[in-house]
Amino acid sequence: MVTAVHVQTRGRPRHRDYGFLGAGPERPWWREYAGHTAFERPTVLVESDGAGYRAYLSGIPSARRDAVGTVIRYTLVVEEDGVGVPAVEPAAVVTLVRCWVSEQGGPRPGSGGLTRALDGAFPEDEVERMLAAPEPVAPADVRRRVVAAVRALPAADPARSGAPDVGERDWLADAGSAPARAAFVRRVDELLVDRRPGRALLLNLVGSPADLTALLDDTSPLAVIAPDTAVAGPTRLGRERGPVGAGKAPSAAPPRTSPVISATLPMPARTTSRPVSRLWTVLTPLVLALAAVIALLLPLLSR
């Protein structure tokens, strides 16, 4: 398998909950971002190691509703190992991302293109049939339908035309900004078409650069857009490393249960300078020895 395409959605009946049409991905790698995004809301995760890539798009609404009237969503996962001829052109995945990201700037005329395309490729009765089928849906069938959905998407200018180059390796920008979205799609194009290593993420539980510290990686440049962020424009992400919450003051308290009290007590810094300290080290034994001799001799002399 060169390219794997997976689609997750649900059926109308209560018992037909979210599941992949056919076999799902081998590993839910997107869960690594569970602390940074709510998957039921618009999310895009694109990762490339320079050879292969994987992409995850979720929160895509369908026109379908479940039994209690809740909007049904789609999740798309595309994984390519970089070996052989791709079954889905990387440019097609860029188109999917471009379409989904372009809808994150708020409601506007013509939005919902991805919803219409996917609903067209996955009609309600066929989705119900696929979810209820005792045998898994053939991967080729799912792939064919996704490719058909991409073809139904509105054509666009090449991804990079007019897209600004942020000029930073790691950056965060607000998803509500059109230039930021264009820069994001440009980065996705670089990752998938030019096969550059890195990541491009649309995350919805991120508010500031500090929230992304744990995702920084020297070997994988990071471009992030997020709704309702505290940043005005594309903002360079810090180079600090460490887990989220790093930077907190280390506890000054000693271990509570240490039996060696001298090792656990906080010792104030010595204020004596080093040369003086050395002098003391030499003189003190001499003075003490002299004192001891006097102390021993004094009773004898006093007799």
Binding site: V68, G69, R256
Partner: protein
């Protein structure tokens, strides 16, 4: 910002970051019952209860803050549009741990509440999607470690079941067999900590149409109570049977108006395709003018939680204060210990004696601070204990 519970937070209460105490609160309910709405209401309204006290309640971390604000925004938009459709609020697709903080204002003395939310469909092995078994196991572990278990119940399902076929569908819609199983596992685990107080909260939600104390037109509270007793009888009966060793186990009934300004207009019991005899419940709500959210009942949850949680905190603080005191005493003894004539002179000259005295003083100060924190929290415990539950609450 992390969705993973701190590793140190094993058990019902444990020390988290900055020495703060971490409590895990479990929720068990079917899909779309309103778990996220209840958490949002808890944060929103819990602050009102704590007004005038040194404690405040806040969301911790960007992820929790954004999750709650997204949910509130959807809800507010729905109310502004003049119609409320419970189905319009998207359900959870993945597990998520909400981090709320009962903050005393003194660094390191807060209590962090971790509430686990997850797709209700995961409760039922038949509807659980393939590939989430590992995640569900994580949820089960979390639930078993909680000292508080909240069971949200869709009040409308109980109150709008008017025919025999409706009633037959109620256990399926409310997922009572799965809820019972989770409660049973939780109770069994409580036996391992018999001295730890435990709390089982039965929380009917979306109750605004059945109480007349929050803008509602009719009082059907007695009927609701009766139905909850009947449908959850098995759950309540499990308590003495499955957790006989737990000395301080409470079962509290706390109905909540999660929105407050809505009124049920119509309830539909729709046949499920492919499942003969099975019904799906759909409620349609209208918004009462002026359409402002008016949560009620979360105060009672907060009182029940705070009595338990702050009492637990008090115990930990007292233990810590005792340890610090012990440490200070040892440090003092060490500082004043007779080391023999020559060594005493040597320590005096080299400054070692002064260092020991400084260390003892520092340890003593920490002990005093710990004792003060324990005293402050004792005061808050007493203050919260004086508050009385509303007439809605029943304790079994």
């Amino acid at each position: 910002m992390t969705n993973q519970a701190p590793a140190a937070a094993a058990g019902a209460a444990a020390a988290g970051e900055d020495g703060r105490l971490v409590y895990r609160i479990g929720m068990v309910g079917p899909s779309r019952v309103g778990k996220t709405s209840l958490i949002t209401a808890l944060l929103h309204d819990g602050q009102r209860l704590l007004e005038g006290t040194p404690i405040s309640m806040k969301a911790v971390g960007t992820a929790t803050q954004k999750r709650l604000s997204q949910h509130r925004r959807e809800l507010d938009g729905s109310l502004l549009a003049g119609e409320f459709d419970a189905g319009a609020l998207g359900g959870s697709q993945d597990q998520f741990t909400f981090h709320l903080m009962l903050d005393t204002g003194v660094p390191g003395t807060g209590i962090e509440l971790q509430l686990l939310d997850y797709p209700g469909g995961w409760l039922d092995p038949h509807t659980r999607p393939a590939g989430v078994d590992a995640q569900w196991e994580e949820c089960e572990r979390f639930l078993e470690q909680c000292s508080v278990l909240v069971v949200p119940v869709d009040a409308a399902v109980l109150m709008e079941a008017t025919t025999a076929s409706h009633l037959r569908a109620v256990p399926t819609v409310l997922g009572t067999p799965q809820v019972t199983d989770v409660v049973r596992s939780w109770l069994k685990r409580r036996n391992e900590r018999p001295d730890e107080p435990a709390l089982l909260l039965l929380c009917p939600v979306k109750c605004e149409s059945y109480f007349d104390d929050n803008g509602g037109r009719r009082d059907q509270s007695a009927t609701l109570l009766q139905w909850v007793r009947k449908v959850y009888r098995q759950v309540v009966e499990l308590v003495p049977n499955e957790a006989p060793d737990v000395r301080n186990m409470r079962v509290v009934y706390c109905p909540v108006d999660t929105i407050g300004c809505v009124e049920i207009l119509r309830a539909d019991w729709l046949p499920e395709p492919d499942e003969p005899g099975a019904l799906t419940f759909v409620a349609h709500y209208g918004v009462r003018p002026p359409g402002e959210r008016s949560v009620k009942g979360t105060e009672d949850i907060m009182i029940a939680l705070c009595r338990q949680l702050v009492a637990g905190r008090q115990k930990v603080e007292e233990r810590e204060a005792g340890l610090r005191r012990e440490q200070a005493d040892t440090a003092q003894t060490f500082a004043e210990r007779d080391e023999g004539f020559f060594r005493n002179i040597w320590y005096l000259v080299s400054g070692e004696r002064r260092l020991r005295a400084d260390a003892a003083r520092s340890s003593r100060e920490e002990a005093i601070q710990a004792a003060e924190r324990a005293r402050a929290l004792t005061g808050i415990v007493e203050s919260l204990a004086r508050r009385v539950h509303s007439d809605r609450v029943h304790q079994w």
